[in-house]
């Protein structure tokens, strides 16, 4: 994850237009960049772990090994780690353990099916504890709707299914995937997305104040595409209903969101689901 200092956190708190993707050949327009550029790490970002023979260093314009389908979210029961880090040469790899194969997308080459099975295998999996240690932020979000994160993890482990949906953020060409089943509530999901796209939560007190993605206080809002293809604001239906209908997520600019009339109406009835 990110080797960010408090200063960095504050900087990013101010500027949420941080554009991920250091590929110089991409046509990024207005998104200003402050702070070190972030991109998905690949092993080429790590110095050889032992001072070995010299080898050609990879060209800096090489795009990182990223695709929205290959990134695994901070998923406490899937045994994989978020592949985001700040990688300017000055800060280096920060708190990331360079000998871990976890920060490389699609590596080690184990079938996704096997990965999912292996790490969903035992319910009181000690790996969960290891994962909490390895998760550098160590967030444990307790969900206000009464579910604890652990309960819902058990549920999804029992059903054995992950529910990965794609997430894109406006201005960021790199899409991600997040496992909805690994979260018990919207807060947890939103915090996780903030970590994924910004590498940190948007307030220095972390999750205590809730995610800014959900409370309309940031430049971005979190939206989702439902079964019928409509884009809706996240947070308006009960969590379990959301799990059933959400097909895709998008972190949209607030300005765009209002143009698309996503504002929740009290009496909104959608596709047979009645909002409470």
């Amino acid at each position: 994850m990110r080797g960010a200092t408090d200063d960095d956190v504050e900087e990013r708190g101010v500027e949420l237009g941080l554009s991920l993707g250091a590929n110089k050949n991409q046509n990024h327009t207005a998104t200003a960049r402050r702070g070190p550029p972030c991109r998905i790490l690949t092993a080429k970002d790590f110095p050889a772990s032992i001072a070995g023979p010299s080898r050609a260093s990879p060209s800096p314009s090489q795009s990182s090994s990223v695709s929205s389908s290959s990134v695994r979210a901070t998923d406490e029961d899937s045994g994989t780690d978020v592949v985001v880090g700040s990688t300017s040469p000055e800060t280096g790899s920060g708190s990331i353990n360079p000998s871990s194969s976890q920060t490389v997308v699609g590596w080690p080459p184990i079938k996704a099916f096997r990965m999912n099975s292996l790490f969903n295998l035992s319910k009181e999996e000690p790996a969960n504890n290891k994962l909490k240690k390895a998760n550098r932020k160590g967030h444990h979000v307790s969900c206000s709707n009464g579910h604890s994160l652990a309960e819902d993890q058990d549920k999804s482990q029992l059903s054995g299914r992950c529910l990965y949906v794609k997430v894109n953020m406006d201005g960021d060409p790199i899409g991600r995937k997040v496992d909805l089943h690994s979260h018990g509530c919207y807060e947890s999901l939103a915090i996780s997305l903030e970590l994924m796209f910004w590498g940190t939560t948007t307030s220095s007190t972390g999750y205590m104040n809730g995610s800014r993605l959900l409370d309309n206080s940031s430049e971005f809002v979190l939206t989702y595409k439902d079964k019928d293809g409509d884009w809706l604001l996240v947070g308006d239906v009960p969590w379990s209903m959301f799990l059933d209908t959400a097909k895709r997520l998008r972190i949209m600019r607030n300005s765009d969101a209002s143009m698309l009339s996503l504002r929740f109406q009290q009496t909104y009835v959608h596709g047979g689901h009645e909002q409470s």
Partner: protein, 598 residues
């Protein structure tokens, strides 16, 4: 000339009869190219077709060419899709193939598919179009649910084989098992180990009771020991068993019946499953170990340490072993001393973080190679490897046909010498003349590719990651490996120079995959221009960026849907993912927005 005119006097039936002795499909492909007459005879009499890349030919054309088809094997997505490197919705749809078969090949009885997307509707179509359908094998597929399985179960009067391996199947409840009609007694092989949900245990027992021919049965984790024991009592002729959850209390009736049931199955040769296996249940398995030829413990993290040793030391006839690295070097040493006939070994990682005390190292591999000289197929995940170990292994086991070594940390050198692993892998290709499949890892320079190009003459499939220094590396391989069919590369510094070094080579191969390398759009376009018989596809998920560009009027929108984003003027852009394959089917008609055919 004389031979040819002599053949003219043979009636077609005779030639057809001669061809019936050719079962190997490359041979049949060859005879079909001799002359028109032979092409016609061959195609009308062909029963089995293997399509290694479902986009290499249009389904309609394949179906029209082989109207007598009985068995079809299809492969869809590229191999790296297994590791999430191919976006979902990429393609590999089974629907068009099933529809084409339904129109043109009335005799279809068997369908085997790997890495394809199959819908429930397609499965329904399949079983309705072919009431005599006999065998469905799905490996690493997705897109269907237990409802589709119910359709298959319900409609096939004489289903022999339903084999589901590592598929992502949406669970819509356990009722699909009830769908097998009471008159269905033809099952020989049933594998639903990859199903994550509950199954109806009573239905399962009844199904097994009325399937006297059942030889292979692989259950999922939801099946408890009690049911397993009942089932095994019903089929003493079982040869291949995948257990369900192997958890039972001592002195419980379930445990006792398991022991007696296992002893009845004298023909049992292959075991898998072992979910939640308790040491007690393992004890029950010991009596049948002596006859086992196949053992898969790779989903059983509970079987390690002394439990594993106690089990494996009885397995003296073992040919195939899949385990987790939690068995440790110590466990592998016991394998080496007990399993002298071993031919295939796969060691999967149990923990992706730090190397624990009981994981495997080069010592385990060397021990195996010393004790099991017949080893010819290896998949080995470890945290480190040395050149000297690899050299020793290749000396001990010169018969490798498949050698895949994955050092978990990318670019890790030999810890003893700090050197790259070129010499170690080089030794493997030098001594193993029959090597067909090779995957390499660790710190590697162009030198290893020099060795591969020079010595790996039988090589058909090569997987490379985080290796090499310059374009020369890839060029060595393209120039030297005459039999290369599939080349997949990720995160290597190979650029346009390597890609374009020998463009005609790709016509002799099934496919090339390159991701996170140093190739540019210009290079890919050049390849596409020079080689019209290839589909040159790039995968780029720049949707968000494109939207942004369009909003800001940066990109020129061209009406040709496929070229919408390609021609915005910047050919120096690096291509993230490239997939090149030979085809007679032209560009894909079902490519999603993010797949651009150049």
């Amino acid at each position: 000339m004389k031979v040819q005119s002599a053949m003219f006097y043979f009636p077609e039936e005779v030639i057809e009869h001669i061809f019936s002795f050719l079962t190997h499909h490359p041979d049949r492909n060859t005879v079909s190219t001799v002359c028109k007459a032979w092409y016609k005879i061959e195609r009308l009499s062909r029963c089995e077709v293997f399509v290694g890349n479902c986009y290499a030919i249009r389904p309609d054309r394949a179906a029209a060419r082989f109207p007598g088809l009985r068995s079809l094997t299809l492969k869809g997505k590229p191999h790296f899709a297994d590791f999430d490197l191919v976006p979902p919705d990429w393609g590999g749809l089974a629907g068009p193939w099933i529809e084409a078969m339904a129109r043109s090949c009335p005799n279809l009885e068997e369908l085997r598919m790997k890495r394809m997307v199959v819908s429930d509707e397609s499965l329904e179509l399949l079983v309705h179009a072919f009431p005599n359908f006999k065998a469905l094998v799905l490996v690493s597929c997705e897109g269907f649910s237990t409802d589709g399985l119910a359709a298959v179960a319900r409609s096939c009067k004489s289903l022999r084989e339903l084999d589901l391996q590592e598929n992502e199947i949406e669970d819509r409840g356990p009722r699909w098992l009830n769908s097998f009609p009471d008159m269905c007694t033809s099952l020989v092989s049933l594998n639903f180990a990859c199903l994550k949900g509950e199954v109806n245990l009573k239905s399962l027992e009844r199904l097994v009771c009325r399937s006297p021919n059942l030889k292979c049965l692989r259950l999922n984790r939801a099946v408890p020991v009690e049911t397993l024991a009942k089932i095994m009592n019903q089929c003493p002729n079982l040869e291949d068993l995948g257990t369900g959850s192997l958890l039972a209390d001592q002195f419980s009736e379930a445990y006792v019946s398991l022991i007696s049931a296992l002893q009845k199955c004298k023909k049992l040769r292959s075991l898998s499953g072992f979910w939640d296996a308790s040491p007690l249940c393992l004890l029950a398995v010991y009596p049948i170990c002596a006859n086992l030829t196949g053992l898969n413990l790779s989903y059983a993290p509970t079987v390690q340490g002394q439990d594993f040793i106690n089990l494996i030391q009885h397995c003296v006839k073992l040919l195939r072993l899949w385990v987790l690295d939690s068995v440790g070097d110590k466990g592998l040493a016991v394998v080496a001393s007990a399993c002298k006939e071993l031919q295939e070994l796969r060691v999967f990682p149990s923990d992706l973080f730090a190397a624990g005390p009981a994981t495997v190292t080069e010592e385990g591999l060397v021990a195996i190679s010393t004790g099991c000289p017949k080893l010819n197929s290896l998949l080995y995940f470890c945290h480190s490897m040395t050149n000297s170990a690899l050299i020793t292994v290749s000396k001990n086991c010169p018969n490798f046909t498949r050698f895949r070594l994955c050092i978990l940390e990318p670019r890790k050198p030999d810890p003893a010498t700090n050197e790259p692993l070129d010499e170690g892998f080089g030794a493997v290709v030098k001594t193993c003349k029959n090597l067909r499949r090779f995957s390499i890892s660790g710190l590697l320079t162009d030198q290893v590719f020099y060795y591969i190009g020079k010595y790996a003459k039988a090589l058909e499939m090569l997987s490379i990651a985080f290796a090499g220094d310059t374009d020369q590396g890839m060029t060595y391989v393209l120039n030297g490996c005459k039999n290369l069919r599939k080349l997949e590369i990720r995160d290597c510094p190979f650029g346009d120079g390597a890609l374009l070094a020998d463009v005609t080579k790709y016509e002799t191969m099934r496919s090339l995959w390159m991701s996170s390398c140093d190739i540019s759009l210009r290079g890919c376009k050049a390849l596409a221009t020079k080689m019209p018989s290839l589909n040159v596809e790039i995968i780029n998920e720049w949707e968000a960026e494109m939207e942004e560009n369009l909003n800001n009027g940066v990109a020129e929108v061209i009406s040709n849907n496929n070229n919408k984003h390609i021609n915005n003027g910047n050919d120096e852009r690096k291509v993230e993912k490239l997939y090149v394959y030979r085809t007679v089917g032209g560009p894909r008609t079902d490519a999603p927005d993010f797949v651009w055919t150049l």
